[in-house]
């Protein structure tokens, strides 16, 4: 007879071991999945996890790690603040899109003028766009008690339609021969979020992601507001009793996550993506949810998890081209990771007891 027993206090060891266990379990069951698809499981796993870092073409893939990881980390850091406090912004994908549209629109408005002020203005606009889009569910929640999960998610679909209308309408490249999509910002120096060190993949978004990690770390560990976030998540009544204002906390967490998602979108459109297109968004806003949980809602953890998730994206692309592994398989792989993480998380707060004997 197996029983669950609550630990007197959360296990630190398991809190860190859980993500590793989840990764291992995902590799195993992912391997089974790949085998079921008729691929060699071992070489698939190696292709996904080894090739991008140490394979023969690693010089090409390693910078990609930063390019793919930066938006994930940037968004996940923002989400983690809310998640810690029990505030569920799951519409980061929408905020990412709006941030990109705002940023690109400001840049394109100046086209073809050249000035050092254009790029900073775009950054502000991108942040503002994401922030505004996130404030919709936030304000509705504090004013009317509307569920922020549903509203923020609905706004993803609205943002996607808005993106399509922008790509086909106002922001369409007038010299684009009728093709949908905006001008390419990579060819507009003042608005281009280019590589800071050639060949490194390092762009301003990566810098922003690292700053966000440090900012979040200090906030959570040392600042009053971070403490308020943690207490609210652990015990909402105790937080209110201690003097936390729940309304302000909702506005702060939602706003910050929207702002960071908007920044991520802006850096993406001005850099790696280059232009506003109908299919500009590739799901970073949703994958970032996995990253946030995989990183245990801890800034350093998120940094590592963002790298890992970027790895599966890149590895997945390689596996797709080299082994013919379907793109969806990687999506399943990432979903699995979250499943195993949630399941293993049990051991942080509980231990298993077999019969009446002690196990530990």
């Amino acid at each position: 007879m197996i029983r669950l027993e609550k630990r007197p206090q959360p296990s630190q060891a398991f809190s860190w071991a859980t993500p590793l266990l989840a990764v291992l379990a995902t590799m195993f069951f992912g391997g089974l999945l790949f085998a079921a698809l008729g691929k060699d499981p071992v070489s698939s796993i190696i292709t996904i996890f080894w090739e991008p870092l140490f394979g023969s073409n690693a010089f090409y893939y390693r910078p990609q790690l930063l390019i793919k990881g930066a938006p994930l980390v940037l968004i996940a850091i923002g989400l983690s603040l809310g998640f810690k406090a029990g505030i569920w912004n799951i519409g980061a994908e929408g905020q990412y899109i709006i941030g990109a549209i705002f940023g690109a629109a400001v840049g394109l408005a100046f086209y073809p003028a050249q000035s050092v002020f254009i790029f900073p203005l775009m950054i502000l606009a991108g942040a503002l766009g994401g922030w505004l889009w996130a404030m919709i569910p936030a304000v509705l929640k504090v004013k009317f008690g509307t569920n922020e999960i549903l509203v923020s998610l609905m706004l993803v679909y609205v943002a996607e339609q808005f993106l399509a209308s922008m790509a086909l309408g106002v922001l369409k490249n007038p010299e684009g021969f009728g093709f949908p999509g905006s001008r390419n910002l990579q060819q507009y120096a003042s608005a281009h979020n280019g590589e800071l060190i050639a060949g490194s993949g390092m762009h301003w978004g990566v810098v922003a992601a690292f700053i966000a990690v440090i900012f979040a770390y200090v906030l959570l560990a040392r600042h009053r507001l971070g403490f308020a976030i943690r207490v609210t998540g652990e015990a909402p009544r105790a937080a209110k009793f201690s003097g936390v204002n729940p309304t302000r906390l909702v506005l702060f967490c939602m706003g910050t996550s929207g702002l960071l998602a908007g920044l991520a979108g802006m850096f993406e459109v001005a850099g790696p993506a280059g232009q506003i297109t109908i299919d500009f968004n590739v799901g970073y806003g949703f994958t970032a949810i996995i990253v946030a949980f995989l990183g245990r809602l801890h800034p350093i953890g998120i940094l590592l998890a963002g790298g890992l998730m970027a790895l599966t994206y890149i590895g997945g692309d390689i596996a797709q081209s080299q082994l013919g592994l379907p793109a969806a398989a990687i999506q399943v792989f990432q979903g699995m990771l979250l499943f195993f993480l949630l399941a293993f998380d049990l051991f942080t707060n509980y231990r298993l007891r077999f019969g009446h004997r002690e196990v530990a």
């Binding site: 008690g145 509307t146 609905m154 209308s165 949810i289 379907p326 990432q334 979903g335």
Partner: protein, 306 residues
């Protein structure tokens, strides 16, 4: 623009069809939430139902077998959620999101070879002379059996919740799992069954999209219907009849914007396509004031400590 191209009879008949996936998905979620479980994985279970139903119908040639497979597929996926939330006591919000992310990916994987395939058609129920009644005939008596089944299921769920002991126990578990446990009810078992019912219903709803409403398979084709279904449960204050009303309202809006697109209204297509989501938000805002009908234990984790 030519509004006269919208045939009111076809429009009404169309929105009954558009509402049916919502009815299934929202009804299943309503039962799960009544037992105190918030499953945000509706979208994922729907899309799994959509592909399971589609594939089975194509392979066997029987749409009804397809629907059965969809229900099984949805329930199977929901069992994962039940395992996470009831056995390993994971956070329900996170688990629901995981279910949706996983479901979207897994369905895409399963559906690779079905893109562009035409599914077998499910015949209309033969109502004989009723079908020939002007106006009412095409609106009410020209649909497939599953649509009527959806309507009947609402009635059944309503009656079970209101009049039977099983319904009473379900509500009690959702109201206070600790009290229910103290009385000796198997909270985990009851909730798992409710979750599975929710999964089966979501699966049926998904298959209704892929087999009847569209009918074909494309990745991510549920396009947020699962999330609208979640909003619908709030809209309905956890009451089956109001859920039916809400589903018809949303079905109507969806159908209307499609018809307006077809009629070439001056509003850009993208803004029409946004409208169901925006209206969902507006409805949520209006109805969020009244939370009293929500089951008191909704979303809380249960662990029998003694």
């Amino acid at each position: 623009m030519d509004l006269s191209s919208i045939n009111p009879v076809l429009f009404v008949a169309g929105f009954l069809v558009a509402a049916t996936p919502l009815i299934f998905a929202a009804l299943g979620e309503l039962v799960a939430e009544k037992s105190g479980v918030l499953n945000l994985g509706v979208e994922g279970m729907m899309i799994i139902g959509a592909i399971c139903g589609f594939a089975t119908a194509v392979e066997t040639g029987s749409p009804l077998l397809g629907f059965a497979a969809a229900a099984v597929g949805g329930a199977a996926l929901s069992l994962l959620f039940a395992f996470l939330t009831q056995i390993t006591l994971a956070n329900q919000v996170a688990s629901g999101l995981a279910l949706t992310l996983f479901g979207l990916g897994f369905s895409a994987l399963l559906g690779q070879s079905y893109v562009g395939v035409k599914p077998p058609r499910l015949a209309e129920v033969n109502f004989g002379p009723l079908h020939d009644i002007p106006v009412l005939g095409p609106i009410l008596f020209s649909h497939d059996i599953v649509l009527y089944f959806g309507f009947a299921l609402v009635v059944v769920v309503w009656a079970v919740l209101k009049y039977t002991r099983a319904g009473l126990i379900l509500r009690a578990v959702g109201e206070s799992h600790d009290a229910a446990h103290a009385l000796g009810f198997r909270v985990v078992r009851i909730r798992t069954l409710a979750i599975m019912f929710g999964g089966a219903c979501a699966g049926l709803g998904g298959a209704y999209i892929s087999l009847i409403r569209v009918p074909q398979w494309t990745e991510g084709m549920t396009a947020g219907v699962g999330w609208i279904a979640l909003a619908l449960v709030v809209f309905a204050s956890w009451k089956p009849w109001r859920l039916l009303l809400g589903a018809y309202l949303f079905g109507g809006i969806t159908q209307l914007q499609l018809n307006l697109q077809g009629a070439g209204v001056a509003i850009p297509v993208e803004y029409l396509a946004m409208s169901p989501y925006i209206i969902t938000i507006l409805v949520l805002v209006v109805l969020s004031a009244d939370k009293s009908a929500a089951p008191a234990s909704l979303g809380r984790t249960f662990h029998a400590s003694s």
